[in-house]
Symmetry: C2
Subunit: 255 residues, 2 copies
């Protein structure tokens, strides 16, 4: 309808790329390469050496092809990264349907959290438009189910899902950046545990009263993100949010 002809072509290209809308060429030889193969190679490189290491040349070398061959299947590096991020995300977990919606949501959050820690580079892929990858949408769909089942109307479920996605994404961004997980070449990751000390020595207590007040209660254990366990830094907020949602639907049904 009102689709703008000039510039949404890149979205269209993203879509056809992500959803494998490959044209069936007739005449020429069939390519042994494919978007999937290229994306998987990119994922492999990113896993090994971080997102910065992902260059067209490196990916091509990984596959044993020349650099420019990739451009027969992928229009640009940006698009490739987008596909790689979706591939790297993988399929969402199947949530426990029997469980109450809190448990299900926590399960989802834990899985996404674990995923971001396993592939921190996904968080460094610049977002260029709304999520339209099959895997990304699958994750979203899986989260929406328990929210809808809990009694939230569509728009609110959408907002709640956005909230949770944003929380995990944002928290993981901060968390992984602090622990230096985003660069794998670094050898071992370095945790900025003692950062608090360094900073609080510089801070003027008059200007940053709350921070200096907090200073004592610093840094509980990081905790292991295995299973459904969430680290306190993430779990507290999620639990408070779920409290709020619970109260909201309860109040609504009571009325």
């Amino acid at each position: 309808m009102t689709t703008r002809d000039s510039k949404d072509s890149d979205l269209q290209r993203s879509l056809t790329l992500l959803w494998a809308g490959r044209r069936r060429g007739q005449r020429g030889p069939r390519s042994r390469l494919s978007v999937e193969l290229i994306a998987q190679a990119a994922v492999r490189v990113a896993d090994a050496d971080g997102l910065e290491a992902v260059s067209m040349q490196r990916v091509a070398a990984e596959l044993g092809y020349s650099t420019m061959s990739l451009y027969n299947h992928v229009p640009s590096k940006d698009l490739l990264l987008e596909v790689a991020a979706d591939v790297g995300a993988g399929a969402p977990p199947d949530l426990d349907e029997a469980a109450d919606f809190r448990a299900a949501v926590r399960q989802w959050v834990a899985a996404l959290w674990a995923g971001f820690h396993q592939r921190p580079w996904i968080l460094r892929v610049p977002l260029d438009h709304a999520p339209v990858g099959p895997h990304q949408l699958a994750w979203l769909d899986r989260l929406l189910r328990p929210l809808l089942a809990a009694g939230l109307p569509g728009a609110e479920a959408r907002a709640a899902a956005l909230h949770l996605t944003a929380v995990v994404r944002g928290t993981a961004q901060i968390s992984t950046s602090m622990s230096g997980e985003h660069k794998r070449d670094n050898g071992f990751p370095r945790t900025d545990t003692d950062l608090a000390h360094v900073v609080t020595e510089l801070l003027d207590p008059a200007e940053y009263p709350a921070l200096t007040a907090i200073h004592a209660a610093e840094l509980a254990d990081p905790g292991q993100p295995d299973g459904d366990a969430l680290p306190f830094e993430l779990g507290f907020g999620v639990d408070r949010f779920l409290d709020g949602v619970e109260g909201w639907v309860a109040a609504k049904s009571r009325r």
Copy 2:
């Protein structure tokens, strides 16, 4: 103490850069350039043409200096971007102290949200370690105050602040990327409003039941983020979270 000597030098450099720990050289000529001037120029470039346009050459040109001159004041582009992001964030607003903590927090959220929409490029600056910039810490401090005043103990206040920061950051990332605000050269921004349609036409309802169910309730008005008004997509989640926090402290004080 246990500071690792090999690799936290970059953190140290970040700190001295961000906190203007300039050594007072004696002999040579005083430089007319400074970290602040360079960072401001970078901000100007990013405001005008987006983060991708920020190159050392461009920033130097903006100042009328040669490219390599910048390296006398800034050790690397990464560090420069970090400083520019902090400078671009600016000082946090003074929150209404008289107001209840909900109003204060909403005020803070609205301000940060507005800031991210004004300078979307800040969200594209890669995070390399914990936030240590003066402005970033000032924002954090301002948020912690109402949370502490509401009765949260230190660790929980910290977690809540992280939650809120992550929410605004993550939501803004998705939101600005959807509307294409991150690239200013583009001419006018393009909203992916009709994205939902495009996608839902491709989706297999069997695999994405929740998404197709939602499909009807799509896209309320974006709303204007002026003053304390939050768009629904952000406000709903924040309000539910605040509900939860409120209930939490109430339950705790009752016990």
